[in-house]
Amino acid sequence: MSGGLVWVLVALGLAVVVVRRRSFAVGLVTAQALVLAVEAARHGTGDTTSAVVLAVRAVALAALLLLVVSRTREPRPVRAGIAPLARGGLAVGFALALTWLVPTIGLGSGNAERGVLALIAFGIVAAATRRATLFAVVGIVLCENGLALAALELPHGSSSAIELGVAFDLTLVALVGAVFHERIFAEFGAGDTAALRSLRG
């Protein structure tokens, strides 16, 4: 995968950390997964399984998450505890720390390695710093997009069975997350993790 494309994926990931609206974030992670699917199809040597799995997973998750967004409309977006610029700075700092700490991991290119670590860092920061419950699910999807990039860049290719399994598990986790988000919304009137935390004093 070209360095430029990797940095496009990273930029989309960073945007997930700073955007305000849940639907934008869903659109961004879907775009990322579709870019990965196209790249898998272009790069693939006869085996199109990865491309199909990534594309189907991207569309299925986008449909599920956008449906959940439409069913749990909030009068105004749940405010994050940390300002967008600070979140972005935190995400970039975490990504840089990871790339500094983790040695060469043997992927196709150095850019891909840094991209993978950055996307995982962004996913964790998105899940940890956003109060809106759906952003936690989006953060997990962002991490998995980073791992999908790593799988595409493996020197000997990855196992189709594992890729299929990862996509299935991720969809299942997102589905359960969506069910809980709806239930939390119904219970508290907002998909806000601060309301959940208040239960524990």
Binding site: I105, A136, G139, G165, D169, F180, I184
Partner: protein, 487 residues
């Protein structure tokens, strides 16, 4: 197909069929069908366990499936906890609930289907011959068990389930990064590259392999509930329905721990056995450090059991980290004894909450004074978990600490011994308060008590037999097979 492969297939497929049978069963026959399905599933699990432990040196190691002593032990434990969880479920399901995650009319059916699915996935984890496949199964348990944790539908249950889902999913994402790094260093692509045998031949270089191992263990730690990534554990275990809490603590945690154990053994030739084991000893000691102060606090019954899970997963990590046959014999006894005692403790929570509803949010005291049978069950469970002789957990902890000295880790063993003594004192205090402490007037019946007393009657001789077996185990072929791992 060999008999062991067929048995392994039956162990995983039977709970799935049990779930399907429950799905199709008439409403009035639900409990009976579930019990029959569970009994059959447990019978296959115990058969496989007997076969694997009878000839531990003759392990079956294939691309997808492993049937060795460790798998046999875990599958047996999962079978016993699974069947007892299903048998005590009618008492939980009889409690009226209008806030549940599913409509009240469909509550029992969906609950049983989820329990059977969870059981099937759990049983497949120890039998999986491949790190990638094991990761997929562990991740799949997250989705199913999160629904079960939040099944009650109360706000605190929702919060616990949400925390569990997000933290463990993120943790497993980190573990998957470790697996990808290992796959990058494999000699070839495809699924075989991640089989337990092939992992010892990865060519990533020492630094990358060590990072992969650390990421893998840090990710799995989030699921096992090792400190410092255990935040979900006390909430999920205390808010889940009692049979689910038992499955989580007695079956899920050790099953995921086995994946960490197998990874440590497989990667030892690459990163060095001492390094691999030191990481486990570190997690073990840290978990004990974090758990012990909580065991000294008065807290609600299920929450106390949850913190005791943190302590016991730490003890098992220590045993695996020490890695000597003596310590690993202790690990085998500890996993089995912990499962029996902990499951019994969680099952007793249903009659306890019926008898003393305030026990959901407050420490239960003097239960033996107002409901002697229930007090006795709580006493058996907590006494065994505390390691009060002749509990098998006393013997296993002695074996693990002695195994640590034998492994040349006197400092870690000494610190562990001190922490275990402090943990024992904390739980012993809780035992006295729970059974014989001051008791307010109580006249509510303890619903479902008969079944739990019956289970306790079965558990006590099993625990005593385990204590006796623990004295023979260190020199046995089972301990040698556990120490050898998959070759």
């Amino acid at each position: 197909m060999a008999s062991r492969e067929l048995l392994a297939l039956a162990v995983v497929v039977t709970p799935v069929l049990g779930g399907l049978a429950v799905l199709c069963a008439p409403r009035r026959a639900l409990n009976g069908v579930a019990a029959a399905g569970a009994a059959l599933s447990a019978a296959f699990a115990l058969a496989l366990s007997a076969v694997a432990l009878a000839e531990p040196a003759r392990a079956l190691v294939e691309r997808w499936v492993v049937v060795d002593a460790a798998a046999g032990m875990l599958v047996g434990v999962i079978g016993v906890v699974g069947v007892t969880a299903v048998l005590v479920s009618p008492a939980y399901l009889a409690i009226p609930s209008d806030r549940g995650l599913v409509p009240p009319g469909r509550r029992p059916r969906i609950f049983y289907v989820l329990v059977f699915d969870f059981w099937a996935i759990l049983a497949a984890i120890p039998l999986m011959g491949n790190l990638g496949g094991a990761w997929l199964l562990v991740e799949a348990t997250t989705a199913v068990s999160a629904v079960l944790v939040g099944f009650g539908g109360k706000p605190r249950a929702l919060e616990a389930a949400w925390k569990y889902l997000i933290l463990t999913s993120l943790g497993l994402g980190v573990a998957l990064l470790g697996i990808v790094i290992l796959a990058a260093g494999a000699a070839h692509g495809g699924l075989d590259a991640l089989s337990w045998r092939e992992l010892s031949h990865v060519r990533t270089g020492h630094g990358a392999a060590l990072v992969a191992y650390l990421l893998l263990l840090a990710g799995l730690a989030a699921k096992i509930g090792w400190a410092p990534v255990h935040n979900w554990l006390p909430d999920a275990h205390s808010e889940a329905p009692a049979p689910v809490s038992a499955l989580l603590s007695a079956a899920l945690l050790p099953a995921v721990l086995l994946v960490a154990w197998r990874s440590s053994q497989a990667l030892s030739p690459v990163i060095g056995a001492s390094t691999a084991q030191s990481v486990l000893v570190g997690f073990g000691l840290l978990s004990l450090f974090v758990a012990v102060p909580f065991l000294w606090q008065a807290m609600p019954w299920k929450r106390l059991l949850a913190y005791s899970s943190l302590e016991h997963m730490g003890v098992i990590a220590l045993g695996i980290g020490f890695g000597t046959p003596l310590a690993l014999a202790g690990v085998a006894v500890h996993i089995t004894g912990h499962a029996l005692a902990k499951a019994l403790g969680f099952y007793a929570a249903t009659p306890l909450l019926g008898h003393e509803p305030r026990a959901a949010g407050h420490p239960a005291t003097g239960i033996g004074r107002t409901q002697p049978s229930l007090g006795a069950v709580l006493g058996v469970s907590l006494g065994a978990l505390a390691g009060l002789p002749p509990s098998p957990l006393f013997v296993s902890e002695v074996l693990i600490v002695a195994g640590g000295f034998a492994a040349g880790r006197p400092w870690a063993s000494s610190v562990a011994a001190v922490l275990l003594t402090l943990g024992f004192l904390g739980l012993a205090h809780a035992l006295i308060e729970t059974t014989a402490g001051k008791a307010p007037a109580r006249d509510r019946p303890a619903a479902g008590l008969r079944g739990v007393v019956l289970l306790a009657g079965l558990a006590v001789p099993c625990l005593l037999a385990l204590s006796a077996a623990a004295l023979w185990l260190p020199g046995s072929s089972i301990a040698r097979a556990l120490a050898q791992g998959i070759r």
